[in-house]
Amino acid sequence: MYRTFILMLWLLTPVVVSADEIMQRLQHADSYRQNVASVRVEMQVRLYKQKVLDKTRRYSVFVASGRRSLVLLQSAAEQGQKVLMRDDQFHLFMPRSRRAIRITPLQKLLGEVSTGDVASMTWHEDYTPRLLKERETINGVACRLLELVSHRAGTTYARIELYLDRLSDEPVYARLYLHSGKLAKQASYKMGEMDGRRMVVGMTLLDGIKAGQSTEVSYLSMTQVEIPDNYFNPQYLARSVLH
């Protein structure tokens, strides 16, 4: 009787989780996406319309500390284009014009693939997390639901509802909201082995605005590299060594 009472009390007691612990869980979740500070990621993006493959695109992404990333577009139709993201500053380099132009945060969302989706590898530097639900099941996986609210200008999404595996903190599913409050995308994360480590190896983005459209992002490789600081200077993008 006493044991049953204790068990019931334990089950009914609201779980109090500190903000520090939630941040640690978010950082742990981020480590499944980017496990070292400075990486080169090769990725393939497939765009589907009504479940039919519409386009395939290739990207090389350099991600470095200080919220710096550089996306090199590698497909035939886009080759030579580069998108530089430094904190909340964005530049686009078009090969025909031979110069980097400053673009607004909204412009990085436009076009076929949001460069914000392919170049943002972590959440904890940009978002403040809080626990929304301690237990919720997504696709048969027991999850914690976190709400991430952007505390920086220029983030692709203003708010994210992120479901993390309760046991491992692996990202499972997310709802991504724009600054207007509109649900922009729903993301499902695919886990797998990469270089002998359990990592996010892909994600599927279901478009909330363009009905019937989805994007499948596959991380082909993630290599730790030392990236020269020059790579993140907009004026450097015109140089041929960056291709």
């Binding site: 080759q79 110069r99 132009i101 909204l106 207007s180 907009p234 041929s240």
Partner: protein, 408 residues
């Protein structure tokens, strides 16, 4: 089907067989039909007419980038649709070696250098200035350059020696020049300072900015002081009917080019841009007035003692004024565009506030597959009676083209 067109089309179809690993090929074909304004003074009758109503243009670009070397070789053929053979011209647009030495980044070779901000006009493009609103423009050709650059965390300095060229309908002139650019990256904007000095003592000094105001609005501007500039203009004092080409490069001292613009972007994919600029290197409204009056006086001589070949020849010389990069000194540009996944329609309206003339351009770029693009553009010239654009020989133009790009 002309031999040349067939040859270039075959090349386009067979190019995968001609390529090597790491080579990118781009092939573009454009056909245009122009409707001439028969009321224009500058549309002279056959056999004196030099303007073609149907034109064709083909361009093949071979691009190769490996390690520190970038190379762009171009071959183009263009002319009127009546021509049975088109001369194929080849050129090296770029061949540049980028390398680091002594703490600086160096470039040597032929290179396209673009420093300007803006869409319709870029005063700060002091190394080379392209015609920004020309629909059928061929790819740009670089300049011989030796540059030394320093890149900091938030700034950069570039020093260049380059060989400048001034291309006029009569000749191409070359001169050595030194140029400098300082770039500073600020929290919400980019700042530029540029300077140039050539071997004859001509210099240019200027600055510009591009600032992101919020999530979807950007504005930009630039100002360039010119110690002197040139215009391809009719010699003062030339006879009413000149017996030899009366046009030459007129030299003017001191001028300032100015650009101010802003753009707003919407989550739906639409963008709106407004720009205004002033370019003293274009004809002033008085210079246009003088040329139009002169052309009317020349035309009035028809039926008199002056041979019509001389009259129409002079009018043909005069009509070259319409080929300038900038036609008017004061310009307002409105551009509305949509960035879709397969379709990119755009409308621009270039208005000349000095005389009420305009160019309206409606274009559509469609992506077919992963490497093919189709282009369609319609351009209309008009405005108030007497305005420069309303008196252009060309009234409207329809252009159709496609491009292929491939990597092997």
């Amino acid at each position: 089907m002309t031999r040349c067109r067939l040859c270039l089309l075959c090349l386009g179809l067979l190019w995968p067989l001609l390529t090597h690993a790491g080579v990118r090929l781009e092939y573009r074909a454009d056909l245009a039909r122009q409707q001439l304004d028969e009321q224009s003074m500058f549309v002279v009758p056959e056999p004196y007419r030099e303007l073609a109503t149907d034109t064709q243009q083909y361009e093949l670009l071979l691009k190769y980038t490996r390690d520190k070397l970038r190379m762009v070789i171009a071959a183009d053929a263009r002319g009127s649709d009546q021509e049975t053979t088109l001369p194929v011209q080849t050129r090296v647009d770029e061949m540049v070696l980028d390398f680091a030495a002594g703490g600086y980044e160096w470039s040597v070779g032929k290179k396209i250098v673009s420093w300007g901000v803006g869409y319709g006009f870029r005063p700060l493009d002091i190394i080379q200035q392209e015609s920004r609103l020309q629909w059928q423009a061929l790819s740009a050709e670089g300049r011989p350059v030796l540059s030394m650059e320093r890149f900091g965390d938030d700034d950069a300095d570039s020093w260049l020696w380059f060989r400048d060229s001034r291309v006029t309908p009569l000749s191409t002139q070359y001169r050595n020049a030194l140029a400098y650019q300082h770039y500073a990256l600020q929290n919400s904007g980019d700042l530029y300072v540029v300077a140039m000095l050539d071997e004859y003592g001509s210099y240019k000094l200027g600055g510009g900015f591009s600032q992101v105001v919020n999530n979807n609005i950007e504005w930009h501007g630039s100002l360039l002081y010119l110690s002197d500039y040139e215009k391809f203009i009719r010699t003062e004092g030339a006879a009413l009917i000149a017996s030899s080409d009366p046009f030459q490069n007129g030299r003017y001292s001191q001028g300032t080019q100015l650009l101010l613009g802003a753009s707003r972007h919407y989550a739906s994919g639409f963008s709106v841009m407004l720009e205004g600029w002033y370019d003293p290197a274009a004809y002033s409204i008085n210079e246009w007035g003088a040329l139009l009056t002169l052309s009317a006086q020349q035309l009035a001589l028809l039926g008199g003692a002056t041979p019509e070949a001389a009259i129409y020849g002079n009018l043909n010389w005069n009509s070259r004024a319409f080929q300038a990069t900038s036609l008017m000194q004061q310009n307002l540009l409105l551009r509305v565009s949509y960035t879709g996944e397969r379709w990119e329609p755009a409308l621009f309206l270039l208005h000349a506030p000095e005389d009420g003339g305009y160019i309206a351009n409606l274009s559509m770029v469609a992506e077919v597959g992963d490497s093919t693009r189709l282009y369609l553009a319609w351009q209309q010239f008009g405005g108030q009676a007497g305005s420069v654009y309303a008196q252009m020989p060309m009234q409207q133009m329809l252009s159709l083209g496609f491009s292929l790009a491939g990597l092997w």
